[in-house]
């Protein structure tokens, strides 16, 4: 691997780890190196708070990631120690900063997700790339959105994008991207016990529910008579309302979706506060998708494969009770290079995590 710091090759380092996750605005890196002030480029990288630009290339000069250094750690010992310098992709700053005050108001009227995002990226010199698969959603005009002053720029953008089933991530050039994994695309790799060092199934049932309900307060435009649903509005006393306990009134908008993978009763309810136009059913489907991230397969390879987050990967492993070949989405990767070896690890999740479709059983 080759590393450039502020445009100058940085030649001497011990170990590099780069981790990427599908629905985060930044990959992270960590590099171990010894500081030598006489070597060009060292002062730029080893000066805390320099926020130096760190670009990673493969041995074949192929761009891997465009990062910014944000953390410096070293211990002062008798023997000069190694510095650990870590950082994240250029859009990572969006997860550290709130909307600057000179860009207020926080309210946006009749703007698209693309317009809102591009405006917020401009002061940071970041660019937005919208993939064709979500172009329609990103260009839809949103009647009104309001950011919270204390929330990060990333959280604000993601909260709108998530509700439109758009994934916000980043590319190797340091751009923010909006896309959705193309689950119909051709698999990039097939993982089997034979071509992996390890494959680990990790299913956390505590955060997976059978009935997922979302609700939000009524829109002020709702028909007043519809709000009462089937209840008898000609009540003579407040006690009469007891007869209607347990009913779902239309005073709020609610939707419930099932997760057919969960055969026992495990309900959850979430309140929506964002986007008054937002469809509660869509939100419930997205919530189910998020919960499906708790079904994952972690793998380790003794090589780097030309795969990246969002790719479709085929898996078969009878030891994990996956006897048939199933397609999964590559949710995260970590590549590691040290003097001795190159390794790659990753995590796979169900396709339905990002489509909102009803999840299919992969076991058996």
């Amino acid at each position: 691997m080759k590393v450039k710091v502020n445009g100058v090759y940085f030649l001497y380092f011990n170990e590099v780890v780069i981790s990427s996750t599908l629905d985060t605005v930044a990959s992270t890196f960590s590099i171990l190196a010894r500081w030598d002030p006489d070597v060009p480029g060292h002062n730029e990288l080893f000066t805390p708070l320099s926020y130096a630009s760190v670009v990673f290339y493969s041995d074949e000069d192929k761009l891997i990631a465009t990062m910014t250094a944000v953390r410096w750690t070293v211990k002062a010992t008798a023997e000069p120690g190694l510095w650990q310098i870590s950082g994240y992709s250029k859009p990572g700053v969006l997860d550290d900063c709130q909307i600057p005050y000179n860009m207020y108001p926080l309210e946006s009227n009749k703007k698209s997700l693309k317009q809102i995002t591009e405006r917020l990226l401009a002061p940071f010199g970041l660019k937005l790339v919208v993939y064709a698969i979500v172009e329609k959603e990103c260009n839809q005009i949103i009647e009104k959105t309001v950011a919270k002053p204390e929330e990060t720029i990333k959280n604000y953008i993601c909260s709108i994008a998530n509700q439109k089933n758009v994934v916000v991530s980043h590319d190797i050039y340091g751009n923010l991207i909006m896309f959705r994994p193309d689950v119909k695309s051709k698999p990039k790799l097939k993982l089997t016990p034979e071509n992996t060092i390890t494959m680990e199934l990790d299913v956390d049932g505590t955060d997976i529910h059978s009935h997922i309900t979302t609700l939000r307060q009524q829109s002020r435009g709702d028909n007043p008579d519809e709000a009462f649903g089937n209840i008898n509005i000609n009540v003579k006393s407040f006690d009469d309302f007891d007869q209607d306990r347990g009913q779902t009134f239309k005073v709020s908008s609610t939707d419930t979706v099932r997760n057919p993978l969960v055969k026992v009763f495990r309900p959850t309810v979430d309140k929506l506060t964002r986007l008054s136009f937002y469809d509660t059913n869509r939100a419930a489907l997205n919530m189910r998708g998020v919960e499906l991230k708790n079904i994952r397969i972690d793998f380790t390879l003794n090589r780097w494969e030309p795969i990246s987050i969002g790719d479709i990967i085929e898996v078969t492993n009878p030891l994990l009770n996956i006897n048939n070949t199933v397609k999964m989405v590559l949710e995260s990767t970590t590549i590691n290079e040290s003097g001795e070896s190159k390794t790659m690890s990753g995590a796979l999740v169900l396709l339905e995590t990002f489509t909102g479709d009803e999840p299919q059983n992969i076991f058996g």
């Binding site: 926080l106 829109s219 964002r274 008054s276």
Partner: protein, 172 residues
């Protein structure tokens, strides 16, 4: 969260609701006007409005205003209208245009306290009584003229102010 804001302008949407534009802590914002039942009022530009979020981030409301012209005493209720006047020197004044005042002494002022309102029934009785008195006098005049050999065709005076009675508005 509830914050103070400055009222800027408003419009009425197709459903008859008043939509406000205010300048607040987080810049310009639009909010629905919230008022007691049946209250239809529009503030003047520059008033301090109480801006509040609700369960939907996109549906904030203005729940009230910090009013000028507060003169009512304990137990009293006063309603008033204001007119904003932009003076030539750039200053702004708010002129009270009209008021109604439920006072704690049992009186009610309608725009002022110089003159008095009139009750219909006593007025009607007084006018009928006066009419009767005049007619009586005319009868006497007619009799006097006849005794002197003259003639006077008396035409009784009638009065009817019932059309002036506002049935829809009652008072004590």
């Amino acid at each position: 969260m509830i914050t103070l804001s400055k009222y800027f302008s408003s419009l009425i949407d197709t459903t008859g609701r008043r939509l406000l534009k205010v300048l607040g802590l987080y810049g310009a914002a639009t909010a629905d006007n919230c008022a007691p039942f049946g209250d239809d009022s529009c503030p003047v530009k520059g008033m301090d409005a109480i801006y509040s979020t609700t369960g939907s981030d996109e549906l904030p409301i203005v729940i009230g205003y910090i009013n000028f012209n507060q003169v009512a005493a304990a137990g009293e209720k006063r309603l008033f209208s204001l007119k904003r006047v932009d003076n030539e020197d750039g200053s702004v004044t708010y002129v009270e245009s009209f008021y109604t005042w439920h006072k704690n002494d049992g009186t009610y002022e309608l725009g002022g306290n110089v003159d008095n309102s009139v009750r219909y029934s006593p007025l009607n009785s007084a006018l009928v009584s006066q009419k009767n008195d005049i007619n009586n006098e005319l009868t006497k005049i007619q009799a006097a003229l006849s005794s002197l050999g003259g003639t006077y065709a008396r035409a009784p005076i009638a009065i009817d102010i019932s059309d002036a009675k506002i049935e829809e508005i009652k008072t004590l």
